[in-house]
Amino acid sequence: MAELRVSERAAEVLRAVRAERVGRLTISIDSGCCEGTAPHLYEDYVVPYGAVEIGRAEGISVYIAPHFAEAWKNVRATLDVIDERASDTMSLEAAHGVRLLLRED
């Protein structure tokens, strides 16, 4: 089972986003063109069938995409944030001038 920790700064950002939103929040980790595998924070996200919950951050479920679940089963990582000026992700933390990322231990 993957192990997930949350940095204090990431926790702070997650709490701030939660205070702004009314819907259910989800963090989805998936891969793709242009940004590599990254965590994305969404409101009212439809979780793909077969995605695996690898932990919770400030009460928000963190899912890994179905296709990556096997390779990620022993990953130990910390959910953190970095400052990002020009973010095009639709992840909700972007409005706070930061981007979520995973730092592997």
Binding site: S31, G32, C34, G36, A71, R85, D88
Partner: protein, 499 residues
């Protein structure tokens, strides 16, 4: 101090963002700002959508005869060539590609897209007619019409080409369009809007607004007056756009990530294939969605082939992006550099061997440069073989027999590109037909041709861009049934209801 300033291009005019916000565009080779660009917020999205809708409803573009639309598309093509030096320099400074690539691929590639869609439009039959006798005689017209207001959300890796791929088919079909370029690389898309306007596209038909994806992208994907959204970028954001667009049932085309297989068959010209494997992964620093980042090599040839790749990689020159001798530039941003370098650590931890590269370039004292990196002894199950890295990192995977090669090639959530190398074309074709991707090259790589469809199987996308298939993606299809004006008693189907 940055020297150039750009606004938003809305309704045929340069204008500042309503909130007055601007952002600097950083040149990835110098880490210095080189331009300042207006940053749109929701009010600007509303303004751009209103301008696009107004122009569409007024019919100023869609009602022009198609010969005239085709001619204006050709004028845009010519105007791009007239401004190619300015466009190429802007593309290089915004995104960190090389001037060699910008002048050979980006700017002419964008221009050719307009010419191709001009031709596709003229070749297309606007209305087809069919006769039918059952249950009553009728003429049937099947006609193509534009969708309305189309939004294009594009990435930072090929800003000018991607803007062209979204604007040209939208215009050919008679739509109005709003482009949101990537926040890192907005300039050439903005210049393209000005070029379209100067070439005779009416005000409001082409609008380009730069701004954050979470705000501008989301607003476009959910706006009730936008009929279609075309997105190129990451699978995760594509999935989100599809979910957001579902609220108003927009037409959606998506061109997403890849982890494309580059299969070296045992009868390949190994020198050529090794160079092809390098070109397929290191061109534009590997920041291309269809990069052939999994190189599959027969076990008996494996060691020698990796050696050829290592030797060949030494012919790649990192350097000043504006110097024509430079063949590899920096990655687009510090964040991207961190991501790529994180994957090298992951690959090492998974047990793959990094045989060359693996770190930031020691020869460059500034800029987000990363050395071409080759991993050997990679298993296809490893994360570096399954996840898209979007940097100059290639996984060389051994295989035993053609069936195993096909199995490994298709064992991916993605299905965008790929190639097969062989001296025996029939042998290569047998493999190519079994690869589950939208494009397969034989004995070449990265040769996207605007006349032919491009897009992804599986989680690499929805729909196709380019060629007549790409024009279809910007059109609605209408069936008009032309019945006879005859007594109701002749219309026998009505007997289902009336006695």
């Amino acid at each position: 101090m940055s020297s150039k300033e750009f606004g938003l291009f809305i309704d045929g005019k340069w204008q500042p963002a309503k909130g007055g916000k601007t952002a600097e565009s950083i040149n990835p080779a110098t880490e210095e700002p080189w331009a300042t660009v207006a940053v749109a917020d929701r009010d600007d999205v509303d303004k751009a959508v209103a301008a696009a809708k107004r122009s569409y409803d007024a019919g100023v573009w869609r009602n022009k005869p198609k010969q005239e639309r085709a001619e204006i598309l050709n004028k845009i093509c010519n105007a791009i060539f007239e401004r190619q030096d300015e466009l190429a320099a802007a593309e290089v400074q915004d995104g960190g590609g090389t001037i060699r690539k910008a002048t050979a691929a980006d700017i002419p590639g964008g221009a050719q897209t307009f010419m191709q869609f001009s031709q596709a439009l003229l070749a297309q039959t606007e209305e087809e007619e069919f006769e039918e006798q059952v249950p009553v005689p009728s003429r049937n017209i099947v006609r193509r019409e534009p969708i309305g207001v189309c939004a294009g959300i594009i990435p930072w890796n090929f800003p000018f080409v991607m803007a062209s791929w979204k604007i040209a088919p939208a215009l050919a079909a008679g739509n109005s369009v709003i482009i949101k370029p990537a926040s890192n690389t907005p300039v050439t898309a903005l210049l393209l809007a000005e070029i379209c306007s100067q070439a005779g596209v009416p005000d409001g038909v082409v609008n380009v607004i730069s701004g954050p994806g979470g705000m501008v992208g989301e607003a476009l994907a959910t706006h009730p007056d936008v009929g279609k959204v075309a997105f190129t970028g990451s699978t995760e954001v594509g999935r989100r756009i599809m979910q957001l667009a579902s609220g108003t049932i927009k037409k959606v085309t998506l061109e997403l990530g890849g982890k494309s297989p580059n299969i070296i068959l045992d009868d390949a010209d190994l020198d050529s294939a090794a160079m092809g494997a390098l070109f397929g992964t290191f061109f534009h620093q590997g920041q291309i969605c269809e990069s052939g980042t999994r190189v599959l090599v027969p076990e008996p040839l494996y060691d020698g082939f990796v050696e050829r790749m290592v030797e060949g990689s030494k012919r790649i020159s990192l350097g000043d992006t504006l110097d024509p001798a430079t063949t590899m530039g920096p990655l687009v941003s510090k964040a991207q550099l961190d991501t790529v370098s994180g994957y090298v650590d992951i690959g090492r931890k998974e047990g793959a061997d990094c045989v060359i590269g693996g770190s930031c370039s020691a020869s460059m004292d500034r800029g987000y440069y990363f050395e071409p990196t080759i991993f050997r002894n990679v298993d296809n199950k490893m994360r570096i073989a399954q996840e898209e890295i979007f940097g100059p990192v290639v996984s060389v995977i051994p295989y035993n027999g053609d069936a195993a090669a096909v199995g490994i090639a298709n064992d991916s959530m993605y299905g965008l590109g790929g190639a097969v190398w062989s001296k025996d074309t029939e042998h290569a074709l047998r493999i190519a037909r079994r690869i589950q991707t939208g494009t397969v090259w034989i004995n070449d790589y990265h040769l996207i041709n605007v006349r032919f469809p491009f897009g992804g199987y599986k989680q690499s996308g929805v729909g196709r861009e380019l060629g007549p298939w790409g024009l279809d993606a910007y059109q609605e299809i209408k069936h008009i049934h032309v019945g006879q004006s005859a007594p109701a008693s002749d219309k026998i189907y009505m007997a289902m209801l009336f006695n």
